[in-house]
């Protein structure tokens, strides 16, 4: 008895063969591609990640104090335009801005936009020095206005460009999130893995520890840590410690998931089949158990990412997290709580839109992955 010969056209046969030889990863990707919301979210995510990665290149100004613009503090966003009363031009431009202290407004700065003076935006300009990816020294930026200044999202109270800060903040949050997720993941894998694989009293003890860690309240913990952290440590070191702590708090949930996956998979018959060949625990774990829940763990990771980002945001917002010059959304939002900002400088909130987009993108991609990750659920008899 051999395969029945099919009289299907070649293309059909090829696609069927492709289906038969598709590995699990390929099947998941094929299913994922069919979900429109998830694909759009994935593209948004890629765009955001790339803009974070290339943040220094895309930012016309240095996001730290070093790049502040004394002449344009709390400045409104400058929208580049192509045309105005004096005619159109191929290059986008903004107007120059002058300020003076005005009596009428109690000696506050009043900015006047000088519509006669165009400042052209140029591309690939030289600007402040930075290291691309952390090690390639460059000073070219995508755009800038060498003769004046261009602040697409406006500036804050010290004159720092919000657009540049937003891009860098995305990148910082992503880094903190990644480190946190990575640490949580490693801990979860080890602890949940041992728990799920060996069961018995080891499982009971580890579960008790897991539950204990999970009940630790985050805010008081951070306040304690903040109290203990010496103020002299550099912003980068602080950044690293915050990520570490987030990871140490985040592992219980993941560990529980890993353990559950392992407990189900370890009783599958194909695991017993491997054990009956005399396979060692290591082989069983490596070849059978780990691949079996990789897809679920990836989903879990993607979904826990936004929680890390939001936790870090919340911490920095209340001052327990990152501080200047390290830049994150939380840091940027530290100054928005006064009425002055709410009434007058609404552009401070523009970064929030980006973060909503980032978190939603992660959530949609995670959901899409979770839906796609069960390609075997409907092929059973």
């Amino acid at each position: 008895m051999t395969d029945q010969t099919t009289t299907l056209p070649d293309s059909d046969q090829k696609s069927k063969e492709a289906y038969f030889t598709a590995s699990q990863g390929q099947l998941i990707w094929a299913r994922f591609k069919k979900q429109r919301a998830a694909m759009i979210a994935a593209m948004v995510l890629v765009v955001l990640i790339l803009s974070g990665l290339f943040a220094p290149f895309l930012s016309p100004y240095n996001p730290t104090i070093a790049g502040k613009n004394d002449e344009y503090t709390n400045g409104a966003p400058q929208i580049p335009q192509f045309c105005d009363d004096a005619g159109c031009s191929l290059r986008p431009f903004v107007y120059s801005v002058e300020r003076e202290r005005s009596m009428a407004t109690n000696f506050r700065w009043v900015t006047k936009i000088n519509t006669e003076d165009r400042k052209y935006i140029q591309f690939f300009v030289e600007g402040w020095d930075y290291k691309l990816f952390g090690f390639i020294p460059m000073d070219t930026h995508l755009f800038g206005a060498p003769e004046g200044f261009v602040h697409i999202f406006g500036t804050d109270s010290t004159g720092k460009d919000i657009f540049s800060r937003t891009l860098h903040a995305i990148w910082t949050s992503m880094q903190v999130g990644s480190i946190g997720v990575f640490i949580a993941f490693v801990l979860a894998l080890v602890i949940g893995g041992i728990s799920g694989y060996y069961g018995g009293w080891i499982d009971s003890v580890l579960q008790m520890i897991t539950d204990a860690v999970r009940t630790v309240p985050a805010i008081p913990l951070f306040m304690a840590v903040a109290a203990f952290m010496p103020p002299e440590i550099s912003a980068e070191a602080r950044f690293f410690y915050i990520s570490l702590i987030l990871g140490f708090i985040g592992w219980p949930t993941l560990a529980r998931r890993v353990r559950t996956h392992l407990l189900t998979e370890r009783n599958q018959e194909y695991v017993l089949a491997a054990q009956l060949c005399g396979a060692s625990s290591g082989h069983v774990i490596r070849r059978h158990l780990l691949p079996s829940f990789t897809s679920y763990i990836i989903v879990d990771l993607v979904i826990s990412f936004p929680y890390m980002v939001l936790s870090e945001t919340a911490l920095s917002f209340i001052g327990l997290g990152l501080k200047d010059p390290v830049n994150s959304l939380g840091v940027m939002l530290q100054n928005v709580t006064n009425a002055d900002v709410l009434l007058n400088y609404q552009w401070y909130f523009i970064p929030v839109i980006f973060f909503i987009a980032l978190v939603m993108a992660f959530v949609f991609v995670g959901d899409g992955l979770r839906d796609a990750a069960d390609p075997y659920s409907d092929t059973h008899k």
């Binding site: 099919t6 069927k16 299913r31």
Partner: protein
């Protein structure tokens, strides 16, 4: 009219990632009062899908063709099951006129609610009994299906009963609303053979007592021979042979039915070798053109088997076969 349900030209496809898969194609049959019809088929035959269609229970991605008709004949008139859209209309059909029992009784009882509660709930939904009346009726039904200590069992949970008892409890629950038609989807497959025999006897008794019709879905021809009056054989979504059970089993006409019966190990002839039906059932993605059995048939008569759908031929007054070998009223 003693017809309970009439199925005409039922064709059903599923929309999946791999495309539109035909699960059932052009199936027609009818079941009368007091009649047990066995719906026999192997995996991929479409028998479960057909059964679920009778109660409009298939998943949302199921697509019915416009010619498909399922007519339920009730005392109040005829109901076109596939045209029902609202849940309130379907209530008449599901659990009211038609009841269904499944292969895995553990799956149809909610694990955290006692059996009694579930039966009472069902009764109160479909009739105007009070709670007390429903409880009495439920205990009666449990007793009727042979469960010992029904007063105690009615308050127990599904996991406290053994497999056979659970299946009986499910039959009790299905029958408590006095349906006209019972659809039993592989009810004995998961049971031990000694318990299976008991449940089969029980079902036969209940048919006579309640004058119901039963559609008994199974892959086991032995069970069908013992319980059914009529048998319909399905293969890859098509109904390829149907007729009285004695005729179909003693004188099968379709090569698939013949192959199926020949492949069964028989206790009265231990020496004869086992003869499988050659080949494998094609994947639903690779439905053969023409007669769906042509990839495995050893009695192909010509090109028409590969390209033309075989007509439904009457070989005896109530025995029909879909095969090119036969001509109307003729012989092979």
């Amino acid at each position: 009219m003693s017809d309970l349900i009439t199925v005409q030209n039922l064709t059903l496809k599923f929309r999946t990632d791999e495309g539109l898969i035909t699960a059932v194609e052009d199936v027609s049959f009818r079941v009368r009062k007091g009649e047990v019809m066995g719906l026999v088929g192997e995996s991929g035959s479409g028998k479960s899908v057909t059964a679920k269609a009778l109660m409009h229970l298939n998943a949302k991605n199921a697509v019915y063709t416009p010619e498909s008709k399922i007519i339920l004949h009730t005392d109040e008139g005829e109901v076109d099951v596939l045209a029902l859209r609202k849940a309130s209309e379907m209530k008449v059909v599901r659990g009211g006129a038609i009841s269904m029992i499944f292969q895995e009784p553990m799956a149809s009882f909610a694990p955290a609610i006692s059996i009694g509660k579930q039966m009472i709930e069902q009764l109160m939904l479909h009739s105007d009994m009070t709670k007390a009346q429903a409880r009495t009726h439920s205990i009666e039904m449990l007793d009727r299906v042979g469960i010992s200590d029904p007063h105690k069992r009615v308050d127990q949970f599904a996991f406290e009963l053994s497999g056979g008892m659970r299946q009986r409890a499910m039959i009790a629950m299905a029958l408590s609303t006095q349906p006209k038609l019972l659809i039993a989807d592989e009810p004995t497959t998961a049971l031990d053979v000694t318990i299976q025999a008991q449940v089969i006897d029980l079902m036969k008794d209940l048919v006579t007592e309640f004058d119901m019709g039963i559609i008994f879905i199974t892959h086991d021809l032995g069970v069908v021979a013992q319980t059914a009056d009529y048998v319909s054989v399905m293969y890859l979504g098509r109904l390829i042979e149907k007729g009285p059970v004695r005729e179909v089993i003693r004188d099968p006409r379709h090569p698939y039915t013949q192959g199926l019966i020949a492949a069964l190990p028989k206790l009265d002839d231990l020496e004869s070798p086992l003869t499988p039906v050659p080949g494998d059932i094609p994947s639903p993605l690779e439905r053969p053109p023409g007669c769906v059995f042509n990839t495995r048939c050893s009695k192909i008569v010509g090109d028409q088997c590969m390209s033309v759908l075989p007509p439904d031929v009457k070989v005896d007054p109530v025995h029909r076969v879909a095969c090119h070998i036969y001509k109307e009223e003729g012989q092979a």
